[in-house]
Amino acid sequence: MMTNDFVIKIATVNGTGSASANTLLMKSIFRSGIPVMGKNYFPSNIQGLPTWYEIRVTKHGYVARQGKVDIMVAMNAETYGKDMREVAPGGYLIYDSTWPRPALLKREEITVIGVPLARLCNESFNGVRTRILMKNICYAGVLAALLDLDLQKIRELLAETYGKKPALVDSNMKAIELGYAYTKEHYKCPLPLRVEPFSKEEGSKTAGHIMIDGNTAAALGCVFAGATVAAWYPITPSTSLMDAYKGFADRWRVDPETGRKNFAFIQAEDELAAIGMVLGASWNGARAFTATSGPGISLMNEFLGLAYYAEVPAVVFDVQRVGPSTGMPTRTQQCDLMECAYASHGDTKHVCLYPSNPEECFYMAVEAFDLAERLQTPIMVLSDLDIGMNDWMCRDLEWDDAYRPDRGKILGLDEILKLDKFYRYLDKDDDGIPYRTLPGVHPKASYFTRGSGHTQFGTYTEDSVEYQIVLDRLVRKFHTAKTLLPKPVVRMHGTKTDVAIVSLGSCDGAVQEAIDVLERMGVVLDYMRVRAFPFGEEVEKFLADHRTIFVVEQNRDAQLRSLLTLETAVEKSKLRSLLHYSGLPISSSFIVEGVLAEIAPGGDRLKVVDLPRKARMP
């Protein structure tokens, strides 16, 4: 019995309406009070290529992939063989039995469920396109019967989705009922793997939660932070962040009396222009941001160096995708860690934030604007495709109306009038952060912004000493940054151990689950998730306190490990990499296996309590 704890994977062809069926299934489970995870593996294509959707029903509330499939809905003939092979022993395969399936492809240890989806839909609907779309809705009905989903909740969801088109609610519901009725009639329902609302005592495990993607949450953060200038060039997987910002701004930023928009939304000609616009706007006192992915950061490098050196605030969201080069644009990775930390020529370093889920995208977006203005430098928020484009179950976002933007050290007219003279790059407060002024306030406050060598007084220089004074102060500013950035999140095991995992961003869910699994096997680990670069004291301490540290990240070259060795005092040999870079989100089983592979051969080297022999994930 695996009630409320199993994985469904749905294989379809993109552009055939399966996305709405998948969302429907996931949300109906979520609304029944059972935690759920959804991941979309889609091609860089509009129509006709294979696409998969993975739904994990998880009573424990795990947010990552587990790494196995219990129920496969194999709707795509092209991938049928591969999809069948992926089903775990004891699992189920659902296929469209309108046509016979290849006889060669058989597995005795799984249960195959055939439903003539195409035939059912062809009999009930007209039009080629409608029939294809309805066939994909129909499998939701099959799953509803097998998993014991609440049809009433499904109808409610359809009504919300197609509120203005009741005919669509009826046709979709009809398709679902066709699949539902056929399955009930021909198979024993529900399966042992099923969804069952928790008892009254246990209560809902999804109350106080939402299902939201990271791009939407980050966009909301931008709106709440008071960002008014948004400039961007379309690139997957960041585009939906800008779309969401525009959607929210159109709803919340239009003056009800005048109809004027309290934001500027500029689609730039390329990423170079996008970051240029952000810098121009931030320099001129607006909160401005852009969203892009790795290739965009590559193009922005020159301007990022200017912003670092001339000390212009900016907020840049990098929703990472698979590289190098064009790579796999619709797959996820954490491959821009080095690129963002040191973007541009010359001695440059940038403040980076690493959200781990949509909830953190929201709060870190707001924080990024405060930090950008406080530190007068670009803040890079490194999300990834998994966080940005998948719906995650998160706690309700909260907002404190007492929040006011931290505009940092901007001199107003009164302060300017009190000055004899204004000097842009003086370290008056000994924290490495100078004062700035905005155009249009007073002629006394004017200064010249430039990427060429400048003195602390803001004038051009080619003098070695004057040049170094400014460059050295920038290092002090970077040290100040360490004290202002989000602290790492540390999960210490009750039992003392000197083995640990260090990770970041979207690896978090998989690491958390892996630690639970390993603990049950007798392997005790501490865990630290870094949330910002540069690393502060807490990171140093954690690294110093552990003897063996697994660095879990989603790229080939161990970029987090590199950053740790470059920017902390950690001994390189202590850090062991667990690298996942297939383009799919990392799974908990990958980490469990990785840790066990390291510690199994010489078990005594690490602190292992009661490790079962040949322990491996099922």
Binding site: F248, E302, L306, P439
Partner: protein, 351 residues
Amino acid sequence: MTFIPKPKVSHPSLPKNALGFTRRDYEGALSTLCAGCGHDSITAAIIEASWGLSLEPQNVVKLSGIGCSSKTTAYFVSGGHGFNSVHGRMPSIAMGANAANRNLTYIGVSGDGDTLSIGLGQFCHAIRRNLNMLYIIENNGVYGLTKGQFSASADIGTKAKKGETNLQAPIDPVLLAMTLGASFVARSFSGDKEQLVPLIQAGLRHKGFALIDVLSPCVTFNDHEGSTKSYAYTREHYEPAVHADFIPFEREIKAEYKEGEALTVVMHDGSRIVLRKLDAAYDPTNRIAAFAQIQERMKQGEHLTGLLYVEPLQQEFHDMNGTPDAALNAVPYEKLSPGAKGLEKILSRYR
């Protein structure tokens, strides 16, 4: 280079503008360009034009990219903020700055390399957005700071100082801007202050993207025999077609114009430009005819100059975006956040 401060000594008898400022108040740091550089004359014309319009110095924003021309933004209106950005990307900085505060005066100074090679894309897109700014190209057909390579505006057959002949076709910023729908397109010569100053004033008051391509000979690398951008060659081949007298809203038209000779264009703020046609056949309000004539004369080796095309009442970026009249950077935070109650409403969609 701008490390040489200019001593400020003003004679009490210097004329003052409406704000009580003398021309000296619109100067900047001392120029470090070569003696006789055309760019310095353009700087002087910008100072004269800004003084004449009584611009509040702090409301002037000066923007540039990289190159000899881009240095000049430090040489005028020291009371305004300046932004010397990266090569060819000034238009994007200008776009962002203008988006944040539409109520300042944006002057961009660029060169033919900065605009027509590395920055061609941004230049074109600033025009498409009708970004409200004055964009001056100090056009000398050559890369000065890197010592004399041809730029994209070099004419076919022109000779470099070291003797090489250019064989590639030039990109003409005036024709390009007209193709892209620019609403204010002018050409002038750094040596013709009488023509240039009123053009700059009209360009500053124009709502939208105002381009002035100023032929500005490079005395060091492109003033030799065989060059088509030398002082001598430019003087010989430039042909004033339309003289523009700029008359601010507050002032009356005093000069007398002969019947049929002058054409008055009213700008968005009520200012007027009186266009004196020096070439009777030229019509600066007809894009297609003007384009053909400029091209025709170019074939004969002549540069028509003056306000070559103007269309004063076009929508600029903010009109298209629907932003308020006040600067976006001054909208109170309370108007920008949906607040905790708003968030609750928003989240209901995600349950």
